[in-house]
Assembly symmetry: C2
Homo-oligomer: 221 residues x 2
DNA sequence: CTATTATTCCAATGATCATTAGAATAGCGC
DNA sequence: GCGCTATTCTAATGATCATTGGAATAATAG
């Protein structure tokens, strides 16, 4: 084997990972899997894709060894193969944020200027939780809450928020978190709460980032 | 703008970075640029590509804002746009190493079993350098040495090693380093030195990794 | 201004990929 | 065994990409 062949073979293997990350839909699927394991069906629904299509993308991710799966009855549940995958994805997004002005532009267009949202950092959140001064709500779908949430948070999926406001006391500040920095659930939740007279803010990051820092995660109801 | 449009636009931006990393040759080019800035010409020679082709790949990398360039006379010199790029590349390779058994296989085929090489870690290298017990040689091309090398190393490009053995004292152990963990220069250098009766080892990582750790780099001759 | 060198742009080719229809599989309950 | 559901596999389509020949550009030297 020549030196050239060796290099070619080596870089080709690395490129498999790049290739897996070269499709917007595959990135979205990985991001969703960062919230916890999910069936093909559920992934398809969240990513707005036909199941067939989702299956094809998962195949590519599986070939790059980024995801694994397990069977339960007729369902196949996919999960990230390693914590490193989320870590890598976050690095990629940070590089995007730094290098690509378009990311900032797109984000500002939809989320308004980020600063207007007065996001809460994890550090501040932990201080506030310790003093028990706030109500922390997890506005993701309930199964994602079950798969892992910040200790002390209560589950109020954004779709049910309007009907469950009675669960949330008015005197205390409400802090919402969801999937991550680009997830809109907490933005929507915050807007609704403020309209109803609550003091409300959102956390700037989500569960995958919380996990990546090695912070404790509560599981189940 | 709907939530769906927002997500699509956002993930499409991130996918630009994945796409840039989805070609083996582009990864090789980034790796080369991790050694220091280089002309299209030089990149083409190192990567074993036609200049035209190299130019096209650099175009893609430039569109993803991973590289920048500067003109000097009729030459264009490309460089990495940010230290984060190398950092990201290294993350990708680590994920590859963990996830892709093929990488191990390819590596072992060419470099023999890695363990046989008795690689020196950066930690050990620094201890040995402090005690001045070894001769440290940089076996990369001379321009890469000039662009940045480990303080205390002397430049002996692997191609010239055979004719410059007189520069290297026989009593002390010789340690060689090159571009990184998959670079074969130091492996070749080590083999030659051992045949000639030297005690020789190689460093397990290279300059990009040294830089990524924030360690001091010497520039020039 | 012309010639020369390094590089890019344009356009066309073939290769690879995403998507999607239709057939096939795997597990389950009967 | 049969029917049902979730998912995958196979194959074909069109879209995108890498590659490459030929023309164009940009800087320099004469």
């Amino acid at each position: 084997m020549s030196q050239r062949d060796f290099k070619d073979a080596l870089y080709e293997q690395f490129a498999r990972i790049g290739h897996a990350m070269s499709s917007p839909k595959r990135i979205e699927l990985l991001e969703l899997l960062g919230q916890g394991e999910k069936s093909v069906d559920a992934l398809a629904a969240h990513a707005d894709l036909p199941v067939k299509n989702t299956s094809a993308h998962l195949r590519v991710l599986r070939q790059a060894r980024l995801v694994e799966r397990r069977r339960e009855g007729t369902y196949l549940y996919y999960r990230l193969a390693d914590d490193k995958v989320i870590h890598f994805l976050k690095e990629m997004e940070e590089l995007g944020r730094i290098r690509l002005a378009e990311v900032e532009r797109v984000t500002n267009t939809y989320l308004r200027s980020r600063d207007e949202l007065e996001p809460v950092t994890f550090g501040e959140l932990r201080r506030l939780l310790k003093r028990a001064e706030i109500t922390l709500i997890d506005v993701r779908p309930r199964d994602e809450y079950r798969a892992g949430h910040i200790p002390g948070a209560i589950s109020v999926p954004v779709a049910e928020l309007r009907d469950h406001l009675h669960k949330i006391p008015k005197g205390r500040e409400v802090i919402a978190y969801c999937r991550g920095p680009y997830c809109v659930y907490s933005v929507e939740a915050m807007a609704l709460l403020r309209r109803r007279g609550y003091r409300a803010r959102r956390v700037e990051n989500g569960i995958p980032e919380w996990r990546a820092l090695g912070l404790a995660v509560a599981i189940g109801e």
